[in-house]
Symmetry: C2
Subunit: 151 residues, 2 copies
DNA sequence: ACTTTACCTCAACCTATCTTTAGGTTTTAG
DNA sequence: CTAAAACCTAAAGATAGGTTGAGGTAAAGT
């Protein structure tokens, strides 16, 4: 256990880009945003630890779930900086985002019900249509639990 | 039927903005995008037909469903231009977007299942994890029906 | 009539998430 | 050793969906 193989091979940016299917420019961009880290070799070229691949994969997965890069950064920042993140570390992130995803799904389902209702009613009277109402409680923030409670 | 009350009161931009809870600048913007229309009075000020309120409400509702302005324009363009849209006209739009919403919900649910699976498996092997796989069939386009069929 | 409020245009600016371009350096393959 | 491939930085450009500001005109209240 103590003597597991070294996991700090240094990966070049082109390799990382190809492996994780993102542009090199995106890796630069992520680095400026603090989402990934690298060090430089003698010739000033970026080198990465292998776990950067996982970080990128996680970033992409979170993006698919609709999480912004800023939120992703906040969450990634909770990973241990002193050691390479392990299975449980990564699992915690998933749990966090899963809750967000659940909320999003619930929001969309409520929205769907409303659309359905509005097809039925025709909604010629805008003031009475919950979906079309400009001041609808279904706001941009869609904070989740509160929605629909007054309908 | 022939002599129904005239519905072409002319609304000023400030009134429309207040009523539909959007900025005047947004109305200008929507107009440049062809999402709404207006004519001008003698003093060059915009005037709107009352059904613009419904259009704006529909635009906002569609945005909540994640439809882009471009898609919204395409759909709005299918409304009759010769007459004021009626109940059935609006209902058709809802039906269309509802299908998109259903797809989106289904997509998120598949994503959720994957996240769940990945928490369980730990996914230390990136190549075997369906969620973290860069070349995952869950793409940006998420065309719906095809997804997950090879899992 | 006069003042305030409403409206006009055009251009610049904003956030998020990147991509592209230009000009220069390093590494690697033959 | 040389040439190609890979890498570097900084700045500008792209796209969506607007917002803000400046400078000027129109309409409405008193």
């Amino acid at each position: 256990m103590e003597k597991k193989p070294l996991q700090d091979a240094n990966l070049a940016v082109g390799y990382v880009a190809k492996r994780s299917d993102v542009n090199i420019s995106t890796l630069h961009f992520y680095e400026t945003k603090g989402l990934i880290r690298s060090w430089r070799n003698n010739g000033n070229q970026r080198r990465y630890k292998p776990d950067v691949l996982r970080r990128i994969a996680v970033i992409k997965a979170a993006q698919k779930m609709g999480v912004t890069l800023e939120e992703i950064k906040l969450t990634l920042d909770t990973l241990p900086q002193s050691r390479t993140p392990n299975k449980n570390d990564w699992a915690k992130l998933s749990t966090q985002w899963q809750a967000q995803l659940d909320e999003k799904i619930a929001y969309m389902q409520r929205l769907r019900e409303r659309v359905e209702g509005c097809i039925g009613c025709g909604c010629l009277s805008m003031s009475s249509c919950p979906l079309y109402n400009p001041n609808d409680i279904l706001g941009e923030t869609h904070s989740g639990a509160v929605l629909l409670e007054k309908d």
